[in-house]
Amino acid sequence: MERKQLYWEDVKLGQEIPTSYSLKLDATRMVLQVSGTQDYYQVHHDRDFAHAQGVPDPFFSTGFISAALGRLLTDWIGPEGCLRKFRMEMRRMNLLGDTMTVNGKVTDKYIRDGEHYVEADVWCETDSQGVTTPCKATLILPSRD
């Protein structure tokens, strides 16, 4: 379970985030989603309700998606790294039955006011929808100096 510490000097521009992973969005995952987020809005678990809204199937909630993206980032940056800013756009649905992959790529790194920053594009994609949730993250890492 122990996590390695990532240092600012070890991050390379353009590198992919190495903690990428996939989850099967099956019915069990949907139940875990409701338990974990305490989000009981029916569009995230009730097929009839989803159809009444004009969407093809129940889709996973923002709280679930941000938790998945949070795992990607916190697994990567280690116990001393921290998230400073994040923007996510829910452009497409992460639907029941899909397989979802979270991934990311480093777009910038710089030092400002003595803090060591990394910028990254991160996203969720599914096998049926492609990229569903494009995001931008600003992280702060410890330095070896």
């Binding site: 338990s35 305490q38 809005y41 809204q53 709280g63 679930f64 938790a67």
Partner: protein, 186 residues
């Protein structure tokens, strides 16, 4: 018996825009941040990070104890969902959720900014502000309402720990859109 005339989306928008800037009083969470909701939160995405789950490991880190996963802050405060937020706003002394023709809610975008780490045992408070509301058509509803709300979350020391800005889409079902169309004469 006279029936009250149904408001048009444009009339509702005028009413909604007068509410921009409304802000709730800070509301304290009933319970402190606890281990068990964090465990359930992590399990849903197979997250086994000991920073969030293992008190012995976390004690040896710079934080000195288990911390809340960064994105869990919002869910723990609001119940997680736009619908839960809407109920919470309805109960607030200052109305935050504006009137809208559609009752279906989709969260379209979210912006986060963190300034403090949240630990198990912290007592969080939050206040919510209506930042913007406008009409922008979507495929399902030509008069869909877009509502921007900000939640500012603080701790027991009066420090802001994070700000979350949500862009919510409120729309009608296709049947409701059809029913609201003006009847053509002829």
């Amino acid at each position: 018996m006279t029936q009250e005339k149904k408001k048009t989306p444009e009339e509702m928008l005028q009413e909604a825009q007068r509410m921009i800037g409304n802000e709730t009083k800070p509301v304290a969470n009933q319970y402190p941040v606890e281990y068990e909701p964090i465990r359930r939160y992590c399990i849903m995405v197979d997250d086994d990070n000991p920073m969030f789950l293992d008190p012995e490991y976390a004690k040896k880190t710079k934080h000195g104890g288990v911390i809340l996963p960064p994105f869990a802050t919002f869910g723990i405060m609001s119940g997680g969902s736009p619908a839960a937020m809407a109920r919470w706003f309805d109960a607030a002394e200052t109305p935050i959720m504006p009137p809208a023709p559609g009752k279906f809610v989709v969260n379209m975008a979210q912006e986060w900014e963190w300034s403090k780490t949240v630990m198990v045992g912290d007592r969080l408070t939050s206040k919510v502000r209506l930042a913007d509301v406008y009409i922008k058509p979507i495929r399902l509803d030509p008069k869909a309402f877009w509502v921007v709300v900000e939640m500012i979350i603080g701790n027991q020391r009066g420090e802001t720990v994070c700000t979350v800005r949500n862009v919510l889409l409120l729309h009608r079902s296709p049947e409701e859109v059809a029913a609201d169309q003006p009847h053509k004469g002829g």
